[in-house]
């Protein structure tokens, strides 16, 4: 008998080293993306109340400054926001708060004014609670104080805010940013308050929607 030596097949040598993946291009790509997002985006300020703006076909962008925004949410709360003007050195925000405070005999300390200047979202705090609001450390406490600016005829603080904003910055334009579900009488009331203070031109903040209209008949 012939002895057949069964030779084992040679093992395939597996590389003991783990495969090395070069991460450098990935890092490059991510850096580029990161820089892109940093440069193109602007920070979205957190609104104190959810506001779903209605849609329109208008393509005009909101102005960067000289803008006072009146925000109203679907639960009929009203908020007010104003920017610092074309130059941050003008410090319109603290001046306006000071002006509103004076009308209600409330004096704000320089530190409180500085806090107000930095606080960049819209404010819906009755002026009596403003000090408490500005000195609150806890964001949830602040949230609880945002009960909306009173705008009824007995205690019309919104009117004072509008008046002061117009006094401090005469070039200011009014924007209305409202939730689509807000009832119309609220809107009418806000428009009335503004018109009482001789603001007749409004910018309604809307989201863009594309609409194509075709003249269907006898074309």
């Amino acid at each position: 008998m012939v002895k057949i030596k069964i030779k084992k097949m040679p093992k395939i040598k597996l590389p003991t080293k783990q495969p090395f993946i070069d991460m450098t291009p990935m890092v490059d790509l991510f850096s580029i993306l990161l820089i892109f997002f940093l440069l193109t985006g602007t920070f979205r300020a957190q609104e104190p109340a959810p506001v779903d703006t209605p849609f329109s076909i208008s393509e005009k962008p909101t102005p960067d400054f000289n803008n006072m925004t009146i925000v109203f949410s679907s639960d009929n709360r009203v908020f007010f926001n104003i920017d610092n003007g074309p130059d941050t050195l003008l410090k319109f925000r603290p001046k306006i708060l000071e002006c509103v405070g004076q009308r209600f005999n409330i004096e704000f300390t320089p530190e409180e004014l500085r806090k107000f200047e930095k606080y960049n979202t819209s404010i819906g705090v009755p002026i009596e609670k403003m000090k408490e609001f500005l000195n609150a450390e806890d964001p949830s406490l602040r949230e609880a104080l945002q009960t909306g600016i009173p705008y009824d005829s007995l205690n019309n603080q919104l009117e004072v805010w509008v008046l002061c904003a117009r006094q401090i910055n005469p070039a200011v334009m009014a924007s209305l940013k409202g939730d689509a579900r807000t009832e119309f009488p609220t809107v009418r009331r806000i428009l009335d308050i503004l018109q009482d203070k001789n603001v007749n031109r409004f910018n309604l903040v809307t989201s863009l929607r594309a609409v194509k209209v075709e003249d269907t008949e006898n074309k």
């Binding site: 783990q18 602007t42 329109s56 962008p61 109203f72 119309f184 018109q195 007749n200 309604l204 903040v205």
Partner: protein, 222 residues
């Protein structure tokens, strides 16, 4: 992970005297950096707003405060008047002309904000002007009319001013209509290119007409 082998190798060599350029490059483990980048990108993507919100301009007529300044309200032709009332639940009601006899008001038509609703109606009434504006825009795009971009808007405004056949739309809002409807109807005005429209307070006759048409009892509509 990706570079453990490499890292160990360099670790072994640490004991010996360092010979420069022996095994070429020293590999740096990039994985944590990639992780960090991923996180940062996600963060910025979520917190930034790319498109600025858009604005729609409206100008309301000045309020007359002093009695003596009171002027006669401008008279408008009844035949051109189209009353649009914003109703509850996104309904739109309309009638033409004016209410002559409060006891026998004109019937209200009910429609909605769909393209075949109020837009079709407005378009039909405003066809002459809409055609003109469309023709003008096409001419600008195709290059028949050459004008700087910033004067196009003024030219369209001029076209609207010259128009004297389109409807005069009076927009009124019933108390349970909402802000979205209000913006929608103003939007329709700019879509269809209505030259003349005004926002008018609703009067009690029209409120009653709405209630009668939609079958609302006045008490429940609060």
């Amino acid at each position: 992970m990706a570079d453990i082998g490499g890292a160990q190798e360099t670790g072994k060599k640490g004991g010996k005297k360092r010979r420069p350029g022996r095994r070429g490059v020293v590999r740096v483990d990039m994985t944590p950096m990639v992780d960090l980048m991923c996180l940062l990108i996600t963060f910025f993507m979520l917190t930034t707003a790319f498109s600025k919100p858009k604005i729609m301009e409206i100008v309301l007529p000045e309020k007359i405060k002093k009695e003596k300044e009171k002027e006669e309200a401008p008279k408008i032709a009844k035949s051109r008047t189209l009353n649009v009332i914003l109703g509850p639940e996104n309904k739109v009601l309309w009638y033409t002309g004016a209410v002559d006899d409060p006891k026998n008001p004109p019937p209200l038509q009910v429609t909605d904000f769909s393209p075949t609703g109020i837009r079709a109606l407005l378009l039909e009434r405003n066809r002459a002007l809409f055609r003109k504006i469309e023709q003008f825009n096409n001419d600008v795009i195709s290059g028949k009319i050459k004008m700087p971009l910033d004067s196009i808007e003024a030219a369209v405004t001029r076209l609207k001013k010259e128009d004297d056949t389109g409807p005069i739309v009076l927009i009124k809002a019933y108390k349970t209509s909402n802000y979205g409807n209000f913006v929608d109807i103003l939007d329709e005005m700019s879509i269809v290119g209505i030259a003349r429209y005004a926002i008018v307070d609703i009067n009690w006759i029209e409120e009653q007409m709405v209630e009668k048409t939609l079958g609302i009892t006045p008490g429940s509509a609060q």
